[in-house]
């Protein structure tokens, strides 16, 4: 069905999407917690900044990442000096672009799931002798877990579909940064690439559909007060 080259593209996309979600999860959870439970000045501003990648043209986000992670950028210079690495033209860079672009979606889903946890249950747990950490680990986290997973699955699908920021930030390098959408774009430019476009597009739609169904199923469990852990 798929040629070795096409399998490589699918594998790379899954690697980039999966790693992006692993890295995004702690960041997104922290931000979602702050936005759901925190009371501090500048909360509206933080909320706005988190959501920026959702509304700013992806090319602009990619360019901003280039400024940050480029050889002269603050993070790029630091990475080069201390670790001797660069994320430009590498799959790690594609992962960063995918993670940043998916962040608003993931934060939003996790935030909603934290807000949906009945705080009266947390109060009940405290009167039963549970300190804040035990309440978090045994009540809050299990109750919001389906929502967190739903957000991650949705973010994963978004990561696999990421195009604009990735191509601007780390270019379109076959085998390294050319994930499904970028490979489809290249194939479209190539005479005789039609068949490959069809196959890769089919894989993209299939993966997205699976992710959407899984995410919806998890969100429903959440809504019914069920649990997945």
């Amino acid at each position: 069905m798929l040629s070795p080259e096409e399998w490589g593209i699918v594998r790379l996309s899954l690697l980039v999407g999966g790693t992006a979600m692993l890295v995004t999860l702690p960041v997104a959870f922290g931000l979602a917690w702050l936005l759901a439970r925190g009371r501090f000045p500048g909360k509206v501003l933080l909320d706005g900044v988190v959501h920026l990648p959702l509304v700013v043209p992806p090319v602009v986000t990619g360019w901003a990442l280039l400024l940050l992670f480029g050889p002269a950028g603050p993070i790029g210079a630091w990475l080069a000096q201390w670790f001797g690495v660069s994320v430009l033209f590498r799959w790690t860079g594609a992962t960063i672009a995918a993670g940043v672009m998916a962040l608003p979606l993931v934060v939003r889903a996790i935030r909603l799931s934290i807000e949906a946890v009945d705080r009266q249950l947390e109060q009940a747990a405290r009167t039963l002798g549970a300190g804040r950490w035990r309440v978090f680990a045994t009540i809050t986290l299990p109750l919001c877990a389906p929502g967190v997973l739903a957000g991650l699955v949705l973010g994963f699908a978004r990561s696999i579909g990421e195009f604009g920021a990735t191509i601007t930030f780390v270019s379109n390098v076959p085998g390294e940064t050319a994930t499904l959408p970028l490979a489809i774009y290249s194939a479209l430019q190539r005479p005789g690439g039609e068949a490959m476009v069809w196959r890769l597009a089919g894989v993209s739609v299939g993966l997205s559909l699976i992710a959407l169904v899984a995410s919806e199923w998890l969100a429903r469990r959440m809504g019914r007060g069920l649990h997945v852990l």
Binding site: Q120, Q123, A124, R126, T127, G129, G131, T138
Partner: protein, 201 residues
């Protein structure tokens, strides 16, 4: 003295205040709905911070505005049965009951027999009737080995037969465990039947 409580807090436009000293047995806070009885229980439990006053229970200071003592709820050892059962939906009944138990404390068999909830242990909370959930909530509070028991309208939204069951259970808690009870109700019959002392608000 079981309870020596004097509290006040502002809630919106009105001020909620209460002051009472009572001995062992069941103390009933009695008064019309909306007067802030639940807020008083929450302040005793440490879930709502009073602006002034003190909470002394069984000779121990749990809150004192004058000396800035404010013991967090998890260290007050107060069993609180809320108006809604507030069972943890992701844990079966047995796991709910065990949640507050400490090693070597809590009379598991005794509490389960007294409340008649042995047949519910494997059920999920969402499958329980109102009366069953209420009894499990009382059991969960008792098994956390509390110094005192707070009950917020324990008979509300139950039919007549269920009310009788729960009332009997509460009276056996009062007479058999010797744990002082502080209970809130707006129903005079209920207050009369269970109270050792009544505080009118």
């Amino acid at each position: 003295m079981s309870f020596d409580v004097s509290l006040s807090v502002r809630r919106g436009e009105s001020r909620i205040a209460a002051s009472f000293v009572t001995g062992p047995g069941a103390t009933v806070l009695f008064g019309p709905s909306g007067i802030g009885k639940t807020s008083i229980l929450q302040m005793v439990a440490g879930l709502l911070k009073p602006e002034a006053g003190h909470v002394w229970i069984a000779g121990e200071t749990l809150f004192d505005a004058a000396t800035q003592v404010d013991v967090p709820p998890e260290r007050r050892r107060i069993g609180y049965v809320f108006q809604e059962a507030r069972l943890f939906p992701h844990r079966r009944v047995a796991a709910n009951l065990r949640y507050g138990m400490r090693p070597g404390a809590g009379d598991w068999d005794g509490v389960i027999a007294m409340l008649g909830i042995g047949h519910l242990l494997d059920r999920w909370p969402r499958t329980l009737s109102g009366g069953e959930a209420r009894r499990v909530a009382i059991g969960r509070a008792l098994l956390s080995d509390p110094r005192v028991l707070l009950l917020d309208e324990p008979l509300s939204s139950l039919d007549r037969a269920r009310r009788g069951d729960i009332l009997d259970a509460l009276m056996s808690v009062r007479d058999r465990t010797g744990i002082p009870i502080l209970m809130v109700t707006h129903d005079p019959d209920e207050a009369e039947r269970i109270a050792t002392a009544i505080v009118r608000l």
